[in-house]
Symmetry: C2
């Protein structure tokens, strides 16, 4: 294997990654909140181990398939932060998983809670009720959380508490208030669940943009994901500084067509994510004024005002808009520290079920 | 392996796929234009073989890595429709490839042509000059094509002609005129190259939305890719009928949060592509009025007006916006014909270099 792969490849700055991992762990320790990072961002055993080594209590995943891979690598406390629909097949997989790890799943309706209880009740598998704190994606209203929790308990499911994802923080207009919305929703949901006679042990929330503003009076646990790397979304939201971003796509200049810069990266390695607030399809840390104006599968066309174009064949780094999507497109992350380079596997890439 | 995998998975309707493959081949045969389909769409040996069996003259790929995989599977006439920057490492790979296949690469500047000639001149590797016909991505102006071709020839590169990709057809305002732009640009570029003393054997163009309108008087070759499957972009551009779309993402209803439909598909299997003209993040063939209003990594939130929601746990199909991105996210396509199901490998998934 050559010292560096051909471009485009995802390159991790390990010193920055370690700093990001440590900073989040220290903040959680200082506020006595458990950290259960979402590993769908990096899908890397090495990075998840770094997170546990600095104090994370367990991991969060998005799918049963991700949970299976991490359980095989010895991770024994896994929250599947997703309203998995439990049928015979997924129940069998979850019960297998439960032989190797403490597994917790999400429910976001009374019907789902009853169904999960029917398949998984009176086992070691736990449940958390998902609460919508403003994203309008999944989750019940705080007021409904009590009924859902009580339904789960009646069906034999070990409901341990509540969680939310304040994903509406991914909006410059709402990033400042999303942590307040999270707090309000979780406090109301906690009260509703307790009023329904179900004890609340876990109140889980968090996202990278709200992390620093989390209400650690009500939250017992935080589940940020992106913070390990950062990306152009965090940069443009003001949630992370560009100098803390720990992952880039190293690319080669392949064309100067039309007087613009064309790189050999594209949507098949960066992902095509482009939030409404994004200035383009990614950012160039060495050229902060540059904008990726067209992203094809294997080409990024960059407007680079008032700057001589880097020559054909030279290397340029691009920060993806959404790092979770970029990582999920590659089999390996290339990790650099103190001049040495190694490859870390993206072990749960593509495991969507 | 179970008869069907857990959702979400990409499901191919083989009868429709065969029809699409045959229809394009028949149109090319009728107009005496060579068909060299772009296999970056499907990355499947089985589908590429279907294309060759119905008359395709060879294949188009986007990267050297894709070419290597298809050459290993016996494909022996490969156009890398990309302005690959040739350095020592890529030159070595291209020369290896040339031992097994007729390889053609793209150049889109005099500097790139001279550089390619320096590394690859006087070998069996051929070159085509890329011409910009309106997309403003890569490619030279028609007037510049002569100088680029002559530079390549002087450097020892076997320049065989010209090509373009009329990608600006992916715009409802321009889809009707993009084939005319392609024709105009290629005619002018052909004249410029011949005026520079370089014989033009190949005039290559095409895209799925312009395919039916191609100027087969000037074009010698067409390179559509998406036509084998179709997708929501083609559907919404009016370039393919929904009933011809041959690939869906089969998904499960996991939530009715907020009175909407939430499916277990998302950007990690559909891709996050959303062109300006798209009505949402994909389309539901069984619910033409439905709109995917929020696409997370593993959730699609669907507005379904005036329709009872399909029940939790039931299956719903989604047509991705851009099928090339969706296919590149999975390791296998599930292929159904006459009630039988088999898996075809996505052999060149993630090979971006």
């Amino acid at each position: 294997m050559p010292a560096t792969p051909p471009t485009p490849y995802l390159l991790v700055d390990l010193a920055r990654l370690r700093r990001n991992v440590r900073a989040a762990a220290e903040r959680c320790a200082a506020t006595r909140v458990a950290l259960r990072p979402h590993v769908k961002t990096h899908k890397s055993v090495e990075i998840a181990r770094l997170q546990l080594a600095t104090g994370a209590v367990g991991i969060t995943v998005a799918t049963v398939g991700e949970a299976e891979v991490f359980a095989r690598h010895g991770f024994d406390d896994i929250f599947i932060g997703y309203p998995v629909w439990v049928d015979e097949r997924s129940a069998a997989r979850l019960l297998d998983l439960a032989d190797r790890a403490q597994v917790t799943i999400a429910v976001d309706s009374a019907a789902a809670a009853a169904n999960a209880g029917r398949h998984l009740g009176h086992t070691s598998i736990r449940g958390l009720v998902e609460v919508d704190s403003g994203q309008r994606r999944t989750g019940v209203t705080p007021a409904e959380a009590g009924r859902v929790a009580a339904t789960g308990v009646r069906a034999g499911l070990d409901i341990r508490g509540i969680f939310t994802f304040p994903g509406h923080a991914y909006d410059p207009e709402r990033v400042a208030t999303a942590a307040d919305d999270e707090s309000t929703a979780l406090r109301a949901a906690r009260d509703a669940v307790e009023a329904a006679g179900v004890e609340v042990h876990v109140v889980s929330g968090g996202s990278t943009p709200t992390f620093a503003h989390s209400d650690t009076e009500v939250l017992t646990e935080l589940r940020p994901g992106v913070y390990v790397f950062g990306d152009a979304q965090q940069w443009e939201l003001g949630a992370m500084r560009p100098q803390d971003v720990a992952l880039v796509c190293r690319s080669t200049v392949v064309s100067h067509a039309g007087g613009r810069l064309v790189l050999d990266t594209g949507s098949k390695v960066l992902g095509a994510d482009r939030a409404g607030f994004a200035s383009g399809f990614g950012r160039l840390p060495d050229y902060p004024d540059a904008r990726i104006v067209l992203l094809a599968e294997n080409r990024a066309v960059v407007d680079l005002p008032d700057t001589p174009l880097p020559p054909l064949g030279s290397k340029v780094d691009v920060v993806p808009n959404h790092v979770c999507s970029a990582v999920n497109l590659v089999d390996q992350l290339w990790v650099e520290e103190a001049g040495t380079m190694r490859a870390w596997s993206v072990v749960s890439r593509g495991l969507n079920s």
